[in-house]
Amino acid sequence: MPLWFLRGLRRGVVTTRYPHRPDAFAAELPTPPAFRPRALTSELADQLAGICPSWALTRSGTELIFDAGACTACGRCREAAPEAVAASGEFELAATELTHLVKRIPLLGGDDS
């Protein structure tokens, strides 16, 4: 047992200070997308909805509906359209209602349906 004890003391504390202080490691994690409405045409929105493997993106009229709960942060939408989609950097995503996770992103231009 002394062998474990001494090694533990030498190593020090590795425990995160979260939630009292932010944890720098969070910046290295994949996060759901954030969108640029100015770059989101209806065509692009349809394309992204087809690419998403987890049914997190659907187009409804002049909006792109983004379900952050279904999103796996796989990055396929971002890789397909980097001018319109970037990583949001958000990881504190817990919601008390599923509806809080469904976001409406306005599309560029008028109303195509």
Binding site: V14, T15, T16, Y18, P19, D23, F25, A26, L29, P32, P33, A34, F35, R36, P37, R38, S54, W55, A56, F66, D67, A68, G69, A70, C71, T72, A73, C74, A86, S88, E90, F91, E92, L93, A94, A95, T96, E97, L98, H100, L101, K103, I105, P106, L108
Partner: protein, 165 residues
């Protein structure tokens, strides 16, 4: 799954339940068909880097001793009975936290194999996105569930800065 009355009433109920857990909470996990990655992240909550004990959270194998049920997986239909039994074995007040994209309606659509969402079988209080949610995200979710951290995602728009569209 019915929710009592309006969203405000449900929210008040959840907060009153959460406030009773004060500084100590016992967590039971339930796998309804996950790929096993969520379970690995949950196990790491007790590991030195995250140490959920310092926040007053503890894992317990017995549903009878549990205050909070952490559910992973898309609720495979073959699991309904086991899931309900586990939930009903927990004495009230109790909370349910659905964990990971599969449990929140992603990855699997409802079909003959799965419900696609934990909410189809159990009443869920908090939903934690991720594939898998990292232990930091899980900590935030647990703290939101017991009302020690405010929910953040409700006010996020997922629109890039400087782009009001």
């Amino acid at each position: 799954m019915t929710r009592p009355g309006t969203e405000e009433t449900a929210e008040a109920l959840r907060r009153s339940v959460a406030s009773q857990f004060g500084r100590s909470l016992h967590v039971r996990t339930l796998d309804t068909g996950s790929c096993a990655a969520c379970e690995q992240e949950i196990r790491l909550l007790a590991a030195p880097h995250y140490d959920l004990h310092r926040l007053g959270f503890f894992f317990t194998p017995a549903p009878r001793h549990a205050d909070l049920l952490m559910v992973t997986g898309p609720m495979i239909r073959a699991f309904d009975v086991a899931a309900r039994k586990t939930y009903e074995a927990m004495p009230g007040p109790k909370l349910v936290v659905a964990t990971g994209a599969c449990a929140l309606g992603g990855v699997y659509q409802p079909d003959a194999f799965t419900h696609g969402s934990v909410g189809e079988t159990l009443p869920v209080d908090v939903w934690i996105p991720g594939c898998p949610p990292s232990p930091l995200a899980l900590l935030q979710g647990l703290l939101v569930a017991v009302d020690r951290l405010a929910e953040k995602v409700r006010d996020l728009a997922f629109i890039q800065d400087g782009d009001a569209g």
